[in-house]
Symmetry: C2
Subunit: 328 residues, 2 copies
Amino acid sequence: MSVRIGIYGYGNLGRGIEAAIRQNDDLALVAVFTRRPPETVKIRTEGVSVYHVDDVLSHKDDIDVMIMCGGSATDLPEQTPALAKHFCVVDSFDTHAKIPVHFENVDRAARESGKVAIISVGWDPGMFSLNRLYASAILPDGKDYTFWGRGVSQGHSDAIRRIDGVADAKQYTIPVEQALAAVRSGSCPELTTRQKHTRECFVVAKEGADLAKIENEIKTMPNYFADYDTTVHFISAEELARDHSGIPHGGFVIRTGKTGFDGENDHVIEYSLKLDSNPEFTASVIVAYARAAARLYKNGDKGCKTVFDIPPALLSPLSPEELRAKML
Amino acid sequence: MSVRIGIYGYGNLGRGIEAAIRQNDDLALVAVFTRRPPETVKIRTEGVSVYHVDDVLSHKDDIDVMIMCGGSATDLPEQTPALAKHFCVVDSFDTHAKIPVHFENVDRAARESGKVAIISVGWDPGMFSLNRLYASAILPDGKDYTFWGRGVSQGHSDAIRRIDGVADAKQYTIPVEQALAAVRSGSCPELTTRQKHTRECFVVAKEGADLAKIENEIKTMPNYFADYDTTVHFISAEELARDHSGIPHGGFVIRTGKTGFDGENDHVIEYSLKLDSNPEFTASVIVAYARAAARLYKNGDKGCKTVFDIPPALLSPLSPEELRAKML
């Protein structure tokens, strides 16, 4: 019997979830919920209906796990605790600094309802977090580094689009090769923000806009760009559409550390991702954790969890026996 | 209160465990057990005694987790089930094909005694297995590859040493760069044994030995070398001691896969290790899982587990709250 999954919010991530479910025989999409008029939302899975979010509670008994596909800024802090009162839920809440508060809110709701919630699932937070944890537990005398990219930062692209005279923009975060090499050498360098990443911007200006002024505004923007070496390219709307319509991303988690009675041996643990589609990969991680949420709930578990709490075997459709025989 | 750890067998791995325990404030070495006369075994930790394995049961109440440091060929299949009747145990059983049988034997013993056992801990099986599992659960439409090296294979070095006329030898397993590149490209190549790894041998011949005969015997040895491109270097005993006394190892687990409604997006997940000391790194993984074993036992769990069954948070000395705030 398949795990019956609902999608709550149908944007890039929701579409990625829909595609990912198709790759897993033991998972079935049963409903999509939207804040838009449902009849205006076309999905790709035949026989599955789109409902308004206001009707979600009438589907309580039809859905094993609800996947929350809203944004971290304002949607998930409200939606995940609200839905955890009635459903097992998985979200990709990614505002690192606010995870402890979000955890508490979701945990309270899920303990009351007796449901299982898994928050902050994806690749960072998510797979990168797991690799930071595993590597630091194995090499306590060491240091870890996370690099992001080459990939599109949605937040930075949005920040450029808000500048006067900008019609559209795409921003790439790029790890600095020399910094990666220094980290891999085991020298445990102290790296500034500027030394770790550069930022490359592709900007479509409105007609008659002052390009020099736009470039200066980007490069001096506090928090977003001022601390980085930033390159700005002005291109046409056609070039942007042709060359920069994808949402690639990726990155590296590297920990180096020492072992031995006198710290005489060096070790490097490196995990990296190279992703054509950030939302589709995130969705692929999430559906594996949706499988885990359904299994935990079936076993009588409840409350909020993160990737740190989930036994890896629960992510796989294979049985424990198959996993031991084939993958160990 | 520290987790009290015993070491059962004091070779390269046992010494690595002793060194790794020193790096973890919440773990304490309390006893070392050996088959040799205990007075002939000198350890590095002050105030800790060495006992004969025959006396192990008189230490039942002093030890929270026994770390099994024997070999996989003949020691662990006997010792781990035997000790699991009385202790929580962790071993590094690495004969992949025999893991299911070993699991059953250890599980039976540990369920009867009510103890927790974790088997096949290290990096392969171990961290590499975990990465195969995570990556395949995330990218079901994909293929994974494991490469080993550059590193010393003890089994292959031993095989060379058994050849007539060989005084000593060290064998390195080396992944083929072109194969790694082909895998990372996402082309999902079918690779033969020969295409994935080469073997490089450093051999000290006895005086008057027939070098051409030795080289031919190595290169044509079934299972060990015949299926590989093998290079043989004859060097002096001094050169072997000077340049090849370390036990480095490492490798790569790479999975590539597709997502999207039409499989239109490619992704690469890569995990790699570069280790100066194979036994010390293996030991570092094992002590983290010893911490997990102690916690599981304290929570009332019992029976045999593998890395697939252990929630990652149990490996870290940090609390769940600290992990969520700092590492997620």
